[in-house]
């Protein structure tokens, strides 16, 4: 296996976020899910103007304020304090989800428990024991023009997160178009996983071994190269 250790040599969350950020075009309107996906905003390439939307009714917000400067009427969907950029706007929840559901966002990026090769996403509930909570995820996956996922390639137990079909409760059917994992960039095309990029160090068979469904390739598979200092 050429000495590749997927738990040690995989990309960090920050590195996955960096890679996802490279694909966000100038002038895009983007919703970043609570938690890990929010990290993408940090790596927005210079010279690109990206407008961030948050479900609770803010368009055009910027970084978190310094500690102590928080205004708790100015928060994102994760209830974290934010700041405004010039050109921001406020609106109520129905207008906010009109933006989502109406197809006005260019991109939504979410986390995942599982992504299936047909684009099904499971990211809201693992079992039936805990308190269920769905938030805006089910709206986002059917609204944005592109729905991407950032995720570790496998669970903590080493089980594949890219699967033939989801076993956890679904968030949405056939909604994911691209997965940025800790090992690869995978598109979902016509019900198949199509490998676009992989870490150069990981052999193809090792990658396939930790993926729950067949990885197809169309032409060249690129090298997934992320700056080491992230």
């Amino acid at each position: 296996m050429s000495g590749f250790n997927i738990m040690e040599d995989k990309l960090s969350n920050a590195q996955i976020a960096w890679r996802a950020a490279q694909d966000i075009g100038d002038g895009s309107y983007v919703n970043l899910g609570i938690g890990f996906p929010e990290m993408i905003a940090r790596f927005q390439p210079e010279g690109r103007n990206v407008t961030y939307h948050t479900e609770n009714g803010v368009l055009g917000f910027g970084k978190a304020p310094a500690e102590g400067d928080e205004d708790w009427d100015l928060i994102n969907a994760g209830k974290k304090a934010i700041t405004l950029k010039p050109g921001a706007s406020f609106f109520h929840h129905a207008d906010s989800f009109a933006m989502v559901r109406g197809g006005h966002l260019d991109l939504a990026v979410l986390g995942a428990y599982q992504v299936a090769q047909n684009g099904d996403l499971a990211n809201w509930r693992v079992g039936s024991k805990s308190v269920p909570a769905v938030g805006g995820a089910m709206d986002l996956v059917h609204g944005a023009k592109r729905v991407a996922v950032v995720t570790d390639h496998v669970t903590r137990d080493g089980a594949p997160k890219l699967v033939e079909s989801c076993t956890f409760p679904l968030t949405g059917l056939g909604c994911v178009t691209r997965v940025y994992s800790s090992l690869a960039v995978v598109d979902i095309v016509d019900g198949k996983f199509v490998l676009r990029e992989k870490l150069p160090q990981i052999p193809m068979d090792a990658l396939q071994a930790v993926t729950g469904a067949r990885l197809h390739s169309e032409g060249q598979v690129g090298d997934l190269i992320v700056p080491a200092d992230i």
């Binding site: 100038d26 002038g27 309107y29 103007n49 407008t51 939307h53 368009l59 055009g60 405004l84 950029k85 010039p86 050109g87 921001a88 706007s89 406020f90 609106f91 129905a94 207008d95 989800f97 009109a98 933006m99 989502v100 559901r101 109406g102 197809g103 006005h104 966002l105 059917h142 609204g143």
Partner: protein, 239 residues
Amino acid sequence: MNKLCPDLVAAVADIPDGATVMIGGFGGSGAPVELLHALIDRFRATGHPARLTIVNNNAGNGGIGIAAMIRAGMVAKVICSFPRSSNAEAFNEKYLAGEIELELVPQGTLAERIRAAGAGIPAFYTPTSYGTELAEGKPAEEFDGRMYVRERWLKADFALIKGQQGDTVGNLTYRMAARNFNPLMAMAADRTIAQVSRLGEPGCIDPQQVITPGIFVDTIVEVPEPQQEEVLVRMGVVY
């Protein structure tokens, strides 16, 4: 990301033959007269865009704006609630001659269908028009003991709207009752082109006072002293 367009000619240059075009305004308030006249200029010079479907509350008044578009022969169909007006000859003549199609929609249903398109709601139920000829052919259903008609969203290829204050990222405010259909149409079109009386840099509008967030606007052009449709009609102006 800068949505600013230098002039009216460029702003309307991409609208093709056969497009569905929503046009903001109610009566004379909120009508983007300069955008419409730029479109007429283009039609006169090039023969395009022709065979347009127009969505507006009305069907033109006097000799300017939508009425002038109809008279110029570039409109195949009007979707509206109230084609009657004080000087509706342009539409009336074509309609009674069978040269223009009319889809009549109750005003609140028209507003809600446009909003639904912008909000990703393909269909909804309304009590409006149940049992009337305007509900013919539409599914009806009972909810909580009352009958409702199912209506579909109404989308457009382009929206031409008029704002008061705008900024270069597309945020808009509207002047008084000139708001009317403008914010809804901005949401419902593939491409929204807004004329504004004042254009500023991002930040010139208090974020709490933005009526149309910039995400709904694609192109913005400044028209510093816009003409008011009602005033033109009263002056008898013919474009």
